[in-house]
Symmetry: C2
Subunit: 228 residues, 2 copies
């Protein structure tokens, strides 16, 4: 695709590498966390960054993101969403790298991240205590978080972060953690039950005062809600 009046010689064969970077969010101990990895090689050796990797020749970017996460945290993500593409020519100090960012949602307690390859560490960080990241990843992370909040406001989709059975209070804590604000218990309950993809089970959670009812997700109803 050309047709320019530019004097540029080879815009066609511009060969920037393309990567996919993932903001993997997880919720544990009442806080939203993000999975970061620490680089052991230059550039930005010693810096924490979002996990990412180069797009393969036969791969779509989403597949790249999925593969990278699989290799790193050994999990098939429950939710993966494209956020944006960053193409500043000097965002990578060595060579030109265009990156497309995704956000993902996983359950941290299920997956202990392992540092592999060029990484020296991999760990969950509280979103409120994220250090200065390598490259432009602070910005990527910020944009991804904004997008997550935006999506969550429209339609409930964070249920993948909850266990198979959960109480409404647990769901509320999850929402509060992601949205970063506290919600009224009764209003949250009413609103979330207004959708009809929560199924009340006959079980109650033991060890908690009040004996809260356990709910489970009606996946088919959720699908309908997401599409319709």
């Amino acid at each position: 695709m050309d047709g320019t009046l530019n004097i540029r010689v080879t815009p066609q064969t511009s060969a920037a590498a393309h990567t996919a970077d993932c903001a993997v969010f997880g919720f544990s101990k009442g806080e939203l966390r993000v999975l970061l990895v620490q680089r052991a090689v230059e550039p930005f050796s010693g810096y924490w960054v979002l996990p990412g990797g180069a797009m393969g020749d036969e791969e779509r970017l989403e597949e790249t993101a999925r593969r990278v996460l699989l290799e790193l945290v050994g999990v098939r993500d429950l939710y993966l969403q494209q956020v944006a593409t960053y193409s500043d020519p000097v965002r990578h100090p060595v060579r030109r790298v265009v990156t497309t960012s995704y956000y993902a949602l996983v359950k941290p307690e299920n997956h202990t991240p392992i540092a592999r390859g060029y990484l020296s560490e991999a760990a969950w960080h509280k979103l409120t205590e994220v250090p200065e990241l390598g490259f432009d990843h602070n910005r990527l992370l910020q944009d991804a978080h904004h997008r997550l909040i935006q999506h969550l406001r429209d339609r409930p989709l964070a249920f993948d972060l909850l266990p198979e059975r959960f109480t409404l209070t647990e769901a509320q804590k999850l929402y509060e953690g992601i949205l970063g604000e506290s919600l009224d218990r009764r209003n949250f309950r009413r609103k979330i039950l207004a959708y009809d993809f929560l199924i009340e089970t006959s079980e109650k959670r033991a060890g908690v005062k009040g004996g809260p009812i356990l709910y489970r997700l009606d996946r088919s109803a959720l699908e309908r809600e997401m599409n319709g």
Copy 2:
């Protein structure tokens, strides 16, 4: 349909070309239109597509989009927004091309598109009468339109398409054209005036029954609204 068998070994050095494609929306004669160009070369010779071009070596994708539009329709866009990145390995039949789509808003009456380079035609099409496009551009267009509507629902940003002074009815027609639905005149008025970036002028529009009041945009207030 192919030609290039990839024997590439290292996914790191993957060198897919990267383009920016633009869904340029314009509003005229009460309808939302999109700027399409007709290809005169293979692949998809004779097909209409979204205007686009290859990213230059020193260019960010948004600059590419801006440059392509400048070269094609000779206009500095009023609004340009990234939509998504498409990376299906076979979305381009000849070689691998990743594309990032943008949508733009311009005033059609100000700019007569000119077909240049590899193009045989360039014209505004009613959004309701878009033909089968080359590549995956029907999908790109659809996604861009969705994004536009989404943005318009959140915050008013289509005022750039209006003349310096305009009546509320003109603004309403614009919204209706983009959203594809009719709105109640009085409710629209109330809602749009609830924001405070419309300044009532002392002038009235002549030649129109009712003598409607002309408004103008308070750019600084709009900025505040968009950011805050």
